[in-house]
Amino acid sequence: MGPGSLWSWFAATRVGRSIFRVGPPQSNLERSQAMVSSFLLHVQPAKVNRHALRASYSLGLGLISLYLFLILTGTGVLLMFYYVPSTTQAYDRMKDLQFVVSAGLFVRNMHRWAAHLMVASVMLHMCRVFYTGAYKPPREFNWLVGVGLFLTTLGLSFTGYLLPWDQLAFWAITVGTSIAGYAPVVGPGLKYLMLGGNIVGQEALTRFYALHVIVLPAIAGLMVAVHLFRVRKDGGLSRPGESADTVQSLALDQLPTNKTYGLMELARGTTPQVGQNPEDEVFSWPHLIFRELLLFLVVVAFVLFLAIFWNAPLEELANPIHPPNPAKAPWYFLGLQELVSYSAFWGGVVVPALIVTALVVLPYVDRRRVGVGRWFARERRVATMVFSVCVAAAIAFTVIGTYFRGPNWGWVVPWRTPPPAMEGR
């Protein structure tokens, strides 16, 4: 008896029926019921447009980010069972995880690599949404939620790497909070609030711990829920030839008032289902579910692969007297570090503020619904070029900060001088 038939047998029993309601779906009706009657599956539609399943369109980046977030939550909770947010104990606990706790290093590796991957996948997801014009009406608000998720992801990684209380942790937080101190008007107060004092010490560690394990994950979780909800309410994944009707709002005042309405009649516009031809749609079970499970397995396998072969770095114990030389942030902040090496105010405050402002106003400025649902649409050549220049600049600064900066943040030529200890950043 294979696992499939075992499950069929269980689903057919009295207990199985009480849990699943619908057995293995045999008909299209049951396929819809399977989606609708399950708590975990009902978040998704019973039928889905073929275009949304095209891996070459979405690259699965949003889903990959979600899976990494789940992996991070799971491994993070495990790490909390051993970690103590204390300046005298935190580093020892890291060593315990490495040498004493069964699979401790492995769990920490998974957490670290999943975090790096999540920063990357969130950034790439944002690029995908830009290049396919998927932020245009009616999806402006969901782009905003996405920007919030991007910033929360960065905040999570920033608060996370203080926790081991090693050299990287200590000096990254020293530099990071000092950058916050350059913000006009609120800067010094904000720095004091972040550190819980004037120096990076126990108070700062306590605060970053609280932010990392509950405040930011809760915010991220809530925003993920809103983000996914809005994907459905805005008509699923963007695709070419979407009916523009979906953006028209219902003329409520023209409706007769002597009538009661079902929820569907009050949905936005003509509901996202209008304009979708039956032949364009497939049942989520099994087409969507299968792909999602497959992608989940791929993501987990990749994180496991990284965690098996590469250990999460741990530098020396934090030494408030001597910064390492050069003191480098993780790769995704190295572009920023290169910028602040010119000017803390311009590079650390003005440029990031401009970038965030540009991302926030983008969907309200670039509203023309052309080229939606296609990569690098010809009609959006200018937008594509401007965005690509920004991305290229970000990559250039990151590469310079990573490979071309040595001791005292001086220039080094990576292929001539052996780069200083860079392991695993």
Partner: protein, 157 residues
């Protein structure tokens, strides 16, 4: 002269008052919660090393020496019978500067300071801070990191 005709619904005095009271009360509650939370998060007492510290006896420092006091992240400079104290905290983003041949060098973002703490190159916006040095009653050097002084202010013994 009758009232000017206007478009849109007319708000009665009662509902106007009720609405404005509601909005004012709601805004006040939200502001009080936000400010109270901020105030809660801002510590009134911090358990940090004192800003003032004793740096030992003057004769511990030979003439012409520049001594790095690790715990305090300052340099103590003696020239003849004058004593000065220079912060080792980079004014850019708070890393500890290293002493070099020609002054001080910050490892984080490459700021270079002259022996007087003046910025020679790099992103540091201000010179390194000079701290007030006095003599305590038991004849020890007393540095106050809470008080910055001009470059020309010495303790002369």
């Amino acid at each position: 002269m009758g009232p000017t005709p206007r478009n849109g619904p007319v708000v009665s005095r009662r509902s106007f008052l009720q609405l404005s009271m509601g909005w004012i009360a709601g805004t006040f509650a939200a502001a009080a919660t936000a400010l109270g939370t901020m105030r809660f998060l801002e510590p009134n007492v911090v358990f940090e090393p004192a800003q003032k510290f004793k740096a030992g006896a003057p004769e511990d420092y030979p003439d012409g020496s520049i001594t790095f006091l690790e715990e305090e992240r300052v340099f103590l400079l003696r020239r003849g019978n004058t004593f000065r104290c220079l912060s080792a905290v980079c004014t850019h983003l708070g890393c500890t500067v290293n002493r070099t041949e020609g002054g001080f060098h910050c490892p984080c973002h490459g700021s270079v300071f002259s022996p007087d703490g003046v910025v020679e190159s790099g992103p540091a916006p201000k010179p390194l801070t000079w701290f007030l040095v006095t003599l305590s009653k038991d004849s020890r050097l007393l540095v106050d990191k809470g008080q910055s002084v001009g470059i020309d202010k010495y303790l002369i013994l």
